[in-house]
Subunit: 259 residues, 2 copies
């Protein structure tokens, strides 16, 4: 039987709110068995950049990372947010270890080439997530807390989307032999059939369901890439992906995406 | 026979200079056997604080760390400086992992009480360095890169002097059974018998030598606490402490302090 592993990805809005973060970390610790936390921190980065007089430029929700912004995200994601979470988990009795992709070379990336003429700057597209390295930490009973930063193998840190970090980590851990549940914690209770009704959570989505929901317009807009991303993780061996509210990460709530 | 372990402490001036850092990292990698790098970053923290409009206050060379400054050092030491070094070591083929005291709970501290009426703020005095935890990384063939930050076990990061981080780590590793060489890399070629003559390096200092040098005034001022600190590490089982120039960390240069 495969070892169970739960990977929770939590975004900046939760991480940067004291009360929400405290609750999230308690709920995270309550998850049975080995686990990994992947966090964002974009709002905090934007705030620090602003105080430093560095302008934040976004294209389609993605941060343009010039050299100054790379320093900001390295400081904020790898230092401020990551170490704050690690210290809090330690206080709750969880033996956490903060990691970026550079640490123990767990996530190697390549600087993104121009996309549709847009230069995203120092943004890394993941080339290789090292599952056996990450497994080593799990086997040592440590709880990896992963910041959304990678490295290019040539001495440079790169900014990498936290959702991507989480799904690439999940795929690598599945390939390393774990029974992986990947939970995306966000502001909504799940994938909704009616965007205005929080009670309209779709309980489960498979490839076939997704094609149907897409065809009839039930699922559209920003939710499409999220589910495509989840299905690609499932295709790569991740057992299930759950999209749920940050206050409901027990595996019993939200939308379950599986093969 | 005990396993050899070399711990190199390098200060902010070297870490923040591209050319010096590159050379230092190459020399560091060339050291045979297991090793740990402990770094500072104070100058960079001061610069970032200045850009953020946060005033840097020092007392006897120690930083007063209020809540704002704690955020700055957590960002700069734990994020910017630490991850930059880790990425560069990875590029040089060294499997580095960046750690603060909170990560895997390797260095637990207590917030410093008022000292002579001075409130140092969020500064941590090391209570426990966890040698067996650090040894675990060494045994996994990882090279710990340690930032001068600890945690209090109650969810807070604390600012801790990098020299102290290095000597406490060295003591813990000696207690964990390693044959430890602790190298303090700084701007001078060693402890000088004539502060104006870089060729006057004292080759070796024992307790007895130190008392004599102190009595006749050969060693005085800021060098006294450095050597007292080194001797206390030696008393705690560290095999030798070397005070040397950052460009000469091969163990063959500088002043060797031993029992």
């Amino acid at each position: 039987m495969k070892n169970k592993l739960t990977i929770v990805k939590v975004g900046g809005a939760v991480v940067e709110d004291e009360a929400q973060l405290t609750q999230l970390l308690r709920d995270f610790i309550a998850i049975e068995g080995p686990k990994i936390l992947v966090h964002g921190g974009g709002r905090r980065a934007t705030k620090v950049a602003e105080r430093l007089g560095i302008e934040t430029k976004m294209v389609d929700g993605r941060r343009i990372t010039d050299a100054d912004m790379l320093e900001v995200v390295t400081m904020v994601y790898g230092g401020l947010v990551n170490k704050n979470i690690v210290a809090r988990l330690q206080a709750l009795g969880a033996d956490a270890i903060g990691l970026t992709g550079a640490d123990a070379n767990i996530l190697l990336s390549a600087k993104r080439p121009l996309k549709k003429g847009i230069d995203y700057g120092f943004v890394g597209d993941v080339k290789k997530a090292n599952g056996s390295k990450i497994a080593h930490f799990i086997e040592a009973n440590l709880i990896p807390v992963v910041a959304p930063l990678t490295h290019d193998g040539e001495g440079h840190m790169l900014n990498t989307n936290a959702d991507t970090m989480a799904s690439e980590t999940a795929k690598a851990m599945a390939a390393a032999g774990f029974d992986v549940t990947l939970i995306f914690a966000f502001e909504k209770p799940g994938v909704l059939s009616n965007p205005d009704d929080d009670n309209s959570v779709i309980k489960s989505i498979t490839h076939t369901d997704f094609e149907a929901y897409k065809a009839d317009g039930t699922i559209s807009g920003g939710m499409l890439p999220k589910i495509e991303n989840a299905l690609s993780a499932v295709d790569a061996g991740v057992k299930r992906v759950i999209i749920t509210k940050a206050t409901a990460i027990d595996g019993q709530h939200g939308t379950i995406i599986s093969f």
